[in-house]
């Protein structure tokens, strides 16, 4: 078990190094540099060149790369030109917002997907199953931004139950109970809108896993032992069907950091997705590279987590 995790970690490290190189190269290939467009064009080019020299922008790429990596390792991601603050501080703020939004989304997603998938799989081809599969098809077909807009319009605008933007009402002191409630209120609608759509693939997956497991021979063995249906389902079918869902969970976790560009834009929610979009549009390069690096690392760690979860729940994968 530990051997497997350690081995898996050895693979992860080079993955992250390669990722950082790719991001660095992409950043280098982008037109212009940190000084283009930032400085009054009437300034003497010699002065700009002097600045370039001072910032190390004329160094060969490997020196620049190692400077960058040194900074990143120490938590220095550079300065944001747009927000005039260290990128690490900016990202920290946004990441906390996105984390809570994604966590709530994840809770909603599984709270819906597991019961729906189980009902649909256990009583497949009944009217209830058809209703649930019908919903999943609509979920697959409806784009997230349409659903989210509809939610904003109905629950935010028409009924006025939820705020339609931001992450907290202005003028509240952090730490108070009102602050917490306001945060939660701002989270509920975007999280739910997203969960309604993201849950459908998990429902479908779980449904087909259960239908598949139901027909396995070892289920017949369990029945032949005299196990009542409830036990057959709880001990044998569900446990085996949840396996791939558990494995998928790691990837979902990486979404906790990545957030969703669509949802955050529609709800003007200050999270990572929106930060990414804004910084691309505003050419805030140091933010873009940092955010892409963090997304990449999150994806790699998500895959790592998935493998670890799978090795815990499935004895066939463990390495002796």
């Amino acid at each position: 078990m530990w051997k497997f995790i350690v081995r898996r970690l050895f693979v992860t490290f080079p993955q992250i190094v390669i990722l950082s190189v790719i991001i660095f190269i992409l950043a280098q290939m982008m037109p212009g540099d940190a000084l283009t467009g930032l400085i009054d064009p009437n300034i003497d080019p010699a002065a700009i060149e002097e600045q370039r020299e001072r910032l190390g922008l004329n160094n060969p790429w490997y020196v620049q790369y190692s400077d960058w990596v040194k900074g990143v390792v120490q938590g220095d991601l550079g300065q944001s030109f747009r927000y005039k603050m260290p990128v690490s501080d900016l990202i920290e703020q946004r990441m906390i917002n996105t984390f809570w939004l994604s966590l709530l989304t994840l809770i909603f997603t599984y709270a819906m997907a597991i019961p729906l998938g189980i009902i649909s799989g256990r009583w497949n081809d009944t009217w209830l199953d058809r209703a649930i599969t019908g919903y999943t098809y609509i979920g697959f077909a409806a784009p997230l931004f349409i659903t989210a807009l509809l939610m904003v319009w109905v629950f935010g605008f028409h009924f006025g139950w939820f705020p339609t933007g931001g992450s907290v009402a202005p003028g509240l002191t952090p730490g108070t109970f009102e602050y917490f409630i306001s945060k939660l209120q701002h989270l509920l609608l975007p999280a739910f809108s997203m969960a309604v759509i993201t849950t459908v693939s998990t429902v479908q997956y779980l449904r087909s896993e259960i239908i598949d497991t139901k027909q396995k021979d070892f289920i017949v063995t369990a029945r032949a032992k005299g196990a009542p249906e409830s036990r057959v389902y709880n001990r044998h079918i569900f446990r085996n069907s949840l396996l791939p869902i558990a494995a998928f969970f790691g990837y979902e976790i990486s979404g906790l950091i990545g957030g969703s560009i669509f949802i955050e834009s529609i709800f003007s929610f200050p999270g990572m997705g929106q930060l990414f979009l804004d910084s691309v549009l505003l050419r805030d390069y140091s933010v873009v590279t940092s955010v892409v690096l963090i997304f990449g690392i999150a994806a790699i760690l998500g895959a790592l987590l998935s493998d670890i979860i799978l090795s815990i729940v499935d004895p066939r994968i463990r390495i002796k």
Binding site: K216, D217, F218, V220, T221, A222, R223, A224, K225, G226, A227, P228, E229, R231, R235, H236, R239, N240, L243, V313, D314, P315, R316
Partner: protein
């Protein structure tokens, strides 16, 4: 107390194809005595396994008619709760494919233990574990304490079949159904598993229904044999009678298909078992595979006749049956 353990009367098991039901087991009547081994033989698709699953009531969607009396209790009309009390306790089953018959995510010990737990709720965990180790020993698994904590994928096919047997015998069933227990195993392992079943039979005094298409296995293990064809029993007899004096054309053809020494080519029964949907429901079902026999010798509605005490055969065509010149010719010329 009567000696009868299982009594099946006019059992039909039908499956739905489209809008109609088709009987895979058709009007089967048979009895099994205590401490007796009844072999059931027949080609693939003759309804052997469907019969076994009907006795355990393991079919998901099937219409079962007739009666199955186990110790005078009718299984056909039994509620699910009562059925669960019988399954794994009074009657148990050994499955065909040990590679898929065990839950891949459960430890071996836990899987056997479950069968004990379901029927002996008062047993403590410690007692259960002790009994599981005992069972593993009994079915000849080395290092039972170690195997207890292993998962199915860590064992070989033969070992897994021993585990499946351990599950089946855990509550000392009176009726043990072995559904082709050796089909998925290597020949050397087959012999070991059969030895094990025979040894257990002597220890448990159980009635055993042994389903197989291996006539050698039947000759070695069974007391009586039922031959099934297309969902019906075509012949039942004591094992010696059947092998020495087979009557039904199908039985004769089956026995004739067993390779003997010095034979160049195998005898082959012409044609195939008709599919469930295309089964002739009237007349002798084997008629289409012995076309050289005059059609008028078949009964219109063939029934089992008792030709000698304990020896039953279906349809009167058996008195007129001979192997066709063609099939003899084919045998000689080596068409397989």
């Amino acid at each position: 107390m009567s000696n009868k353990l299982l009594e099946i009367k006019n059992l039909s098991t039908s499956f739905r194809i489209g809008d109609d039901y088709y009987a895979a087991v058709d009007d089967v009547t048979l009895t099994l005595n205590k401490n007796e081994v009844l072999g059931i033989v027949g080609e693939s698709g003759s309804g052997k396994s469907a019969l076994a699953f009907s006795i355990m009531r393991l079919h998901n969607r099937a219409k079962i008619e007739g009666s199955i009396l186990l110790n005078d209790q009718d299984i056909v009309d039994m509620s699910a709760a009562n059925l669960n009390k019988l399954r794994g306790d009074d009657m148990a089953m050994i499955f065909q494919d040990p590679l898929t018959a065990l839950n891949p995510l459960m430890e071996i010990g836990e899987q056997i233990s479950e069968a004990l737990l379901l029927h002996n709720p008062r047993m403590t965990q410690k007692q259960r574990k002790q009994r599981v180790i005992e069972l593993l020993n009994l079915v000849g698994i080395p290092r039972p304490e170690f195997v207890y904590e292993q998962f199915p994928h860590e064992l070989s096919g033969g070992m897994r079949q021993r585990v499946v047997i351990a599950i089946a015998i855990s509550n000392k069933p009176e009726l043990l159904i072995a559904d082709e227990p050796t089909t998925a195993l290597d020949v050397t392992i087959q012999a070991q598993i059969l030895d094990l079943i025979r040894k257990l039979k002597e220890e448990m005094n159980a009635g055993i229904i042994l389903i197989t298409h291996d006539l050698g296995v039947v000759a070695e293990m069974a007391d009586r044999v039922a031959v099934m064809y297309a969902g019906q029993i075509v012949e039942i007899a004591e094992v010696h009678t059947l092998f020495e004096n087979p009557l039904h054309p199908y039985t004769k053809s089956l026995l004739n298909s067993v390779p003997t020494e010095g034979q160049d080519k195998l005898h082959v029964i012409q044609g195939i078992v008709p599919s469930l949907k295309n089964l002739p429901r009237k007349g002798c079902r084997f008629a289409s595979r012995i076309p050289w026999i005059d059609a008028s010798v078949h009964e219109e509605n063939p029934v089992l006749h008792e030709v000698k005490p304990g020896h039953f055969v279906r349809c009167s065509c058996h008195t007129h049956f001979y192997f066709s010149e063609e099939s003899k010719e084919a045998e000689k010329n080596g068409i397989s």
